[in-house]
């Protein structure tokens, strides 16, 4: 038990807990929106495309998260462009950008001279190595997301539920769609350090599936998703520490296990 409380005195662990809080709030809210609107696949495309930016940053030697943001937003706009203007089917355009981003990332990393030690932490995440500046960025993202969802809650809900009706009522639907897709891209990128590119979809969907078991109210879904995400992330963090297994994978395993248990509980109440 002593080692349990001792953990919280370590600087790296305090940071990890803070990162878990920030990741849970941003992923809980944005994930709730993504799941409700059924745009999980688009989000997957954006996430994986961001790997291209990380590769480019390794090659040219700038901040990998900056590269990831550029590629994520680029992919978000690219998917829209392919679908609306070039008239390629939406799921196909997503797959094109998804794989293009990954391919570019692999090429850039291959061209980078020497060994790239951090690569694994971007792919699979490592919440225990989150830096102060990354924490600040995550904090600011949380402020933006919370403010956006509080200020425009009803408009976001109404557009997400019935876009066409919102248009007939004169809401700026396209503007809101661009704003939310940008927030999705930022959320994905800034949370890459927690669970990694390959695993981030889990934080955007599993807590939401758990929350959806208990509520069908959009507002409550967003809040409950954040709560479940936090419990799962923190538990996963402990499991990863005590069993000495990678944190990202441990967190996801915990989230799925939680969902299974909650689903069972629900069938008994």
């Amino acid at each position: 038990m002593d080692t349990f409380f001792e953990l919280f005195t370590y600087d790296f662990f305090q940071k990890a807990v803070l990162a878990a809080v920030f990741a849970s709030i941003s992923c809980g809210i944005i994930g709730g929106y993504i799941v409700s609107r059924r745009i999980v696949f688009i989000s997957g495309g954006i996430t994986h495309a961001s790997f291209g930016g990380i590769g480019l940053a390794f090659l040219l030697g700038f901040n990998p998260l900056l590269g990831a943001v550029l590629f994520a937003v680029g992919a978000a706009l690219g998917i829209q462009f392919f679908t609306k203007v070039a008239e390629i089917r939406e799921d196909s355009s997503i797959a094109i950008w998804w794989s293009l981003g990954m391919a570019l990332g692999i090429i850039f990393v291959f061209m980078t001279p020497g060994y790239t030690p951090n690569l694994m932490s971007y792919l699979f995440g490592n919440i225990l190595t989150v830096t102060n500046s990354e924490l600040w960025w995550m904090f600011m993202l949380n402020i933006v997301i919370i403010a956006f969802f509080i200020l425009f809650f009803r408009k976001i809900l109404y557009i997400a539920f019935d876009e066409e009706f919102a248009r007939t009522a004169g809401l700026p639907v396209s503007l809101f769609n661009y704003l939310t897709i940008t927030l999705i891209a930022l959320t994905v990128v800034l949370n890459i350090r927690v669970v990694g590119i390959i695993l981030i979809l889990s934080l955007l969907t599993i807590p939401q599936a758990s929350a959806n078991l208990f509520t069908k109210d959009f507002r409550k879904l967003l809040i409950l998703s954040s709560v479940f995400a936090f419990i799962g992330t923190l538990l996963g963090l402990f499991i990863s520490y005590f069993l000495d297994i990678p944190s990202g994978a441990a967190i996801i395993f915990t989230l799925v296990l939680m969902f299974g248990i909650l689903r069972l509980i629900k069938s008994f109440i």
């Binding site: 059924r38 809900l157 007939t168 004169g170 509520t215 069908k216 109210d217």
Partner: protein, 252 residues
């Protein structure tokens, strides 16, 4: 009677395939227009043009004074089949969503009270906190009718409000619309010609073009002359106007 909206020479096509051609049509105050026509004939497209969801290739829609600032003066009930029934939203929130733009002048509390009053009127107040996906077809249609009415529209546009609705409720729905029609003009698209003709005042047959029929009595022969290949089907339980057709048959 004042004109609510007037459509002049309107044409529209998807990917250069013409759907609506040279439509001329006027809706006046307290009108109750039944829009009928075969599938793919352009009924929904016509509604979308009026709602501003699509931009006509040619022609124009002139809105009367009552519909100036039309964004809140038109109530819209879309086809329920296109609604995502798994979306996590409560009945009350769905109804309140009808007042998005009105929300600028009314407080959330006032909108909530109004939504609850409408739900009470439709006999839905007990299920206001249920998720939309938990409702029956008839309940869902009534919820969307509440959403269309909460903005106090001058014109109500309904796209097949009788799908997924059982016979008993269908009669109730049309009685309700008849009542609403005392203050609000209605454009109603339906595939159930036999039923709507006993409630609407005039009929528009849409099949690429539009034929206006200034009464609710329509015969199979007239439909054919209008190039509107649909069958007048009769249903039990609900009042319907098939009599006219029978008389016609007997005359021969």
């Amino acid at each position: 009677m004042n004109s609510l909206l007037k459509i002049e020479n309107l044409s529209f096509g998807y990917d250069k395939v013409p759907v609506l051609e040279n439509i001329n049509f006027e809706v006046i105050e307290q009108d109750f227009v039944g829009v009928i026509g075969p599938n793919g004939g352009g009924k929904t497209t016509l509604l979308k043009a009026i709602l501003g969801l699509i931009k006509p290739d040619n022609g124009k829609i002139i809105f009367g004074r009552e519909l100036q600032g039309r964004k809140k003066a038109i109530g819209y009930l879309p086809q329920v089949r296109y609604i995502d029934k798994k979306f996590p939203i409560t009945v009350l929130d769905v109804v309140m969503s009808g007042s998005i733009m009105v929300g600028k002048t009314l407080s959330q509390k006032a909108i909530r009270n109004k939504a609850e009053a409408l739900l009470k009127e439709m006999g839905l107040i007990n299920i206001k906190n249920k998720a939309i996906g938990e409702l029956s077809g008839g309940q869902m249609q009534r919820v969307f009718l509440c959403r269309a009415l909460i903005s106090d529209p001058k014109l109500l546009i309904l796209d097949e409000p009788d799908t997924f609705v059982d016979n008993r409720f269908e009669g109730e729905l049309y009685e309700k619309l008849k009542h609403i029609n005392k203050d609000v003009a209605i454009i109603l698209v339906s595939h159930d010609v036999g039923t709507i003709t006993s409630y609407v005042k005039t009929i528009a047959c849409v099949n690429g073009n539009l034929h206006y029929h200034n009464s609710n009595k329509i015969t199979q022969e007239q439909l054919e002359a209008y190039n509107c290949p649909i069958q007048i089907i009769s249903h039990g339980m609900v009042p319907h106007t098939v009599l006219q057709m029978h008389n016609h048959d007997h005359e021969h």
